[in-house]
């Protein structure tokens, strides 16, 4: 099976439904915590925790605007994750070669 070199923490970060929802919203445009809290049926501390996880893997950046902290989506850490197709490309090339070798020795 393909194995990908992306950091396992990135996978863990995007395995959570709420965090994926947060990323979807931030991919549309940067938002404040309050906007995110309004969009989900969870408490502000819970959203802040999710944002902390996303920041720790680099999927979310934060900047201060006046009294507000604005969160922004940064797709860079996903560049490895998205590449399933080339992972499977490597996988099938190897497997087809193994098939040929199996035919040779049986």
């Amino acid at each position: 099976m393909p194995t990908l070199s992306a950091d396992a923490h990135v996978y863990a970060a995007i395995a959570d439904t709420t965090r994926r929802g947060i990323l979807d919203l931030l991919a549309e445009r940067p938002r404040s915590v309050n906007e995110l809290v309004a969009a989900f049926d969870v408490t502000q501390p819970a959203i802040s925790r999710h944002l902390g996880v996303l920041r720790s893997v680099g999927l979310v950046q934060v900047r201060t605007e006046g009294r507000q902290r604005i969160y922004e989506f940064d797709p860079e850490p996903l560049s490895e994750v998205v590449d399933w197709l080339s992972a499977y490309d490597r996988f099938w090339r190897k497997r087809l070669r193994a098939l040929g070798e199996y035919l040779e020795r049986t």
Partner: protein, 139 residues
């Protein structure tokens, strides 16, 4: 947009032999992965391998097509992808031409379909998609 992988390979062995290797559970374990495949349309089975980040090591499959000794296709679900794999073989020059298709990649996970619509995705498209397109076939 779905993307597919397609390979054409020639094996200097008769179609019947290649067919056996494509549809025999033990043979498949040797060249592909350990499995509980059975050559019967509707049969549900699994490939099992080492877990990796983002992937529990299990591929869930169902036999979708079986046309001996010509074509076998099964669904391939695991690690967040829901795809179909097919093997089609034809006699050629005293051997066998095999076409393998792995169809239905939609980015990596459903998540990315919505992310692609986001402006932040431009970076990934620039870095990564040309690379993917070079290797895959677009539909």
């Amino acid at each position: 947009m779905t993307r597919n992988l397609r390979y054409e390979v020639f094996y200097p062995h008769p179609v019947e032999k290649v067919w056996r290797v494509l549809t025999d559970s033990e043979a498949m374990a040797s060249w592909l992965m350990p499995n509980d495949f059975a050559p019967r349309v509707g049969h549900r089975f699994q490939f099992r391998t080492k877990p990796a980040p983002g992937f529990d090591g299990i591929v869930n499959c169902e036999v979708l097509e079986l046309d001996a000794p010509r074509r076998v296709a099964y669904s391939w679900r695991g690690g967040g992808i829901d795809t179909v794999v097919s093997f089609t073989i034809t006699p050629k020059d005293g051997g066998t031409a095999l076409v393998l298709e792995h169809r239905g990649f939609r980015g990596a996970r459903p998540l990315f379909v919505s992310l692609i619509l986001g402006a932040g995705w431009k970076k990934i498209i620039r870095i990564n998609i040309p690379n993917v397109i070079a290797k895959g076939i677009n539909e």
